[in-house]
Amino acid sequence: MRDTKMQPEAPWDLIIEPSHNLFELRLKELYQYRELIGLLIRRDFVATYKQTIMGPLWFFIQPIMTSVMFMFVFGNIAKLGTDGIPQPMFYYSGTILWTYFAHGLTQNANTFNANGQLFGKIYFPRMAVPISYWAMEVITLLIQFSLLLVFYFYYLATGFSFHTNWWILVVPLLILQLGALGVGLGIIISSWTTKYRDLKQLLTFGMQFWMYCTPIVYPMSKVPQKWLWVYEINPVAPIIEMFRYSFLGSGSLPLGSWLISLAVSSIILFLGIVIFNRNERTFIDFL
């Protein structure tokens, strides 16, 4: 059946082969589908808040409720302290940063299961889904961040002085780093959740455990010496510390462990992309 009378023709637009380069990002193709990414973000956004009474107010209600709970339990009952930062700001900033990280991770860990229906019927660059998830989380974080600024200026006006310093310039990098870590880990886990459904349950517990191993509801200064190694190996801890140090001026500058965490986050994102590339073409056979 092979064509013997080959004449010079236009080049092929697409060649489908058993495997492709794992390190390829195919950014050009993703760029062509940028409108799809926008629509996926919009879809998640609209679908979440349609037919709810409070609508987009939920962006604030969730972290506020969590912070109030933390204030009550960890601030007033356990008296874990906040390194002198006003309690609402301490818990609220921790909550929104952690949620940003944790959502990025758990949503991406479930990418293939949640979108199996869609992926099984139609082709588009699969990477559009993790990207839209992540973008949605960034938007959420930025919206929630505005309330933190309101708190900040309120406390400034009441005479509280924050030791905000020039390290605040790395905050955007911190957000990227935290996102890379969450999305990367989520993608790595997603390659197993397609085969093993019980990982999802394990993940819920794992994330809770991880949160308590991260200085979210307590400051680093309250951690006993013998447990400090936990924070050395936890790449999220230095990111949170770094944020508190630069923005709220509390704690100390964790420069060394932060740089290690930056390297770890990059490696994890890179691994995640490689694994995603390997999986996206055949995972559908395992669902």
Partner: protein, 264 residues
């Protein structure tokens, strides 16, 4: 005539049966039992353990054919002949195990209509979402919006969330989006199994039209001899993953297919 699709030695291998016990702890127990030489606790009594076994079969084996621009190729075959697998590979949903497919032009595949619709979004919003999933630009969709809505005959309902649509309305809207997309190649798999007879005829007519008037290539998978005879001008029959027959006279193909299925 120019070749727009060249399928070269495509094969796809699948594993038999369950891939694993679907729970990690069960696989661990199976593995632990295997290590100790004990019986697999997750195997049915009296059966052999399937854990770690690598039973495989070929859903497609060395399929080769070419499609020219503007052709309407029917892909026929009994259930399990490998038709859907072939289309899934062509639409890049799963990767082939061996072989290559070369394609010229944009492919729109209608493996199942209405995928990618979000129930909470309105018909109009879903047209944009579905169009984007199929690779259309926003301006293209806006330009074709009236045409799409008119084809679907859903003018009054277009701003209603699609979760309130009947399944027939759902399918009409989805087909309208895909059929109005400017792709050079349209792949359709049993899409006409849904929708009433009138709409089925309309869809077939539309596919015929896009091929005749716009020179688009159509790949159509169906069991329905009548629909195939009406639409296609060439056909291929798959039998147990192997290409069994290919002919440029669609009547021959359908006759042969009817013979094949009669014997069984």
């Amino acid at each position: 005539m120019s070749v727009v699709i060249r399928v070269e030695g495509i094969s796809k291998e699948y594993r038999y049966g369950a891939i694993n016990n679907t729970r990690l702890y069960r696989d661990m127990q199976s593995w632990w039992a295997q290590v100790r030489g004990k019986e697999d606790p997750w195997t049915e009594i009296g059966k052999e353990s399937t854990f770690g076994r690598k039973d495989r079969f070929w859903a497609l084996k060395n399929v080769n054919f070419e499609v020219n621009a503007g052709e309407r190729l029917a892909i026929m075959g009994a259930n399990g002949a490998g038709k859907s697998t072939l289309l899934k590979i062509m639409s890049r949903i799963t990767a082939p195990t061996e072989g290559r497919i070369k394609i010229r032009g944009r492919v729109a595949s209608l493996l199942e209509v209405g995928t990618g619709f979000h129930p909470e979004l309105t018909g109009r919003e879903n047209i944009y979402l579905n169009g984007a999933i199929l690779g259309m630009k926003k301006v293209e969709i806006t330009k074709k919006l009236d045409e799409i809505v008119a084809f679907s005959e859903l003018e009054e309902f277009i701003d209603t969330p699609v979760k309130r649509f009947s399944s027939g309305m759902y399918v009409r809207l989805a087909f309208a989006v895909a059929a109005n997309l400017d792709s050079e190649i349209l792949i359709a798999d049993e899409v006409l199994a849904v929708g009433d007879a009138k709409f089925q005829r309309k869809c077939l007519g539309k596919m015929h039209d896009v091929s005749e008037k716009q020179g688009r290539t159509v790949l159509f998978v169906s069991h329905n001899s009548e629909a195939v005879l009406n639409l296609c001008n060439r056909g291929i029959i798959l039998d147990h993953g192997v290409e069994n027959y290919i002919a440029s006279d669609i009547k021959d193909v359908v006759a042969r297919y009817n013979d094949m299925t009669k014997d069984q």
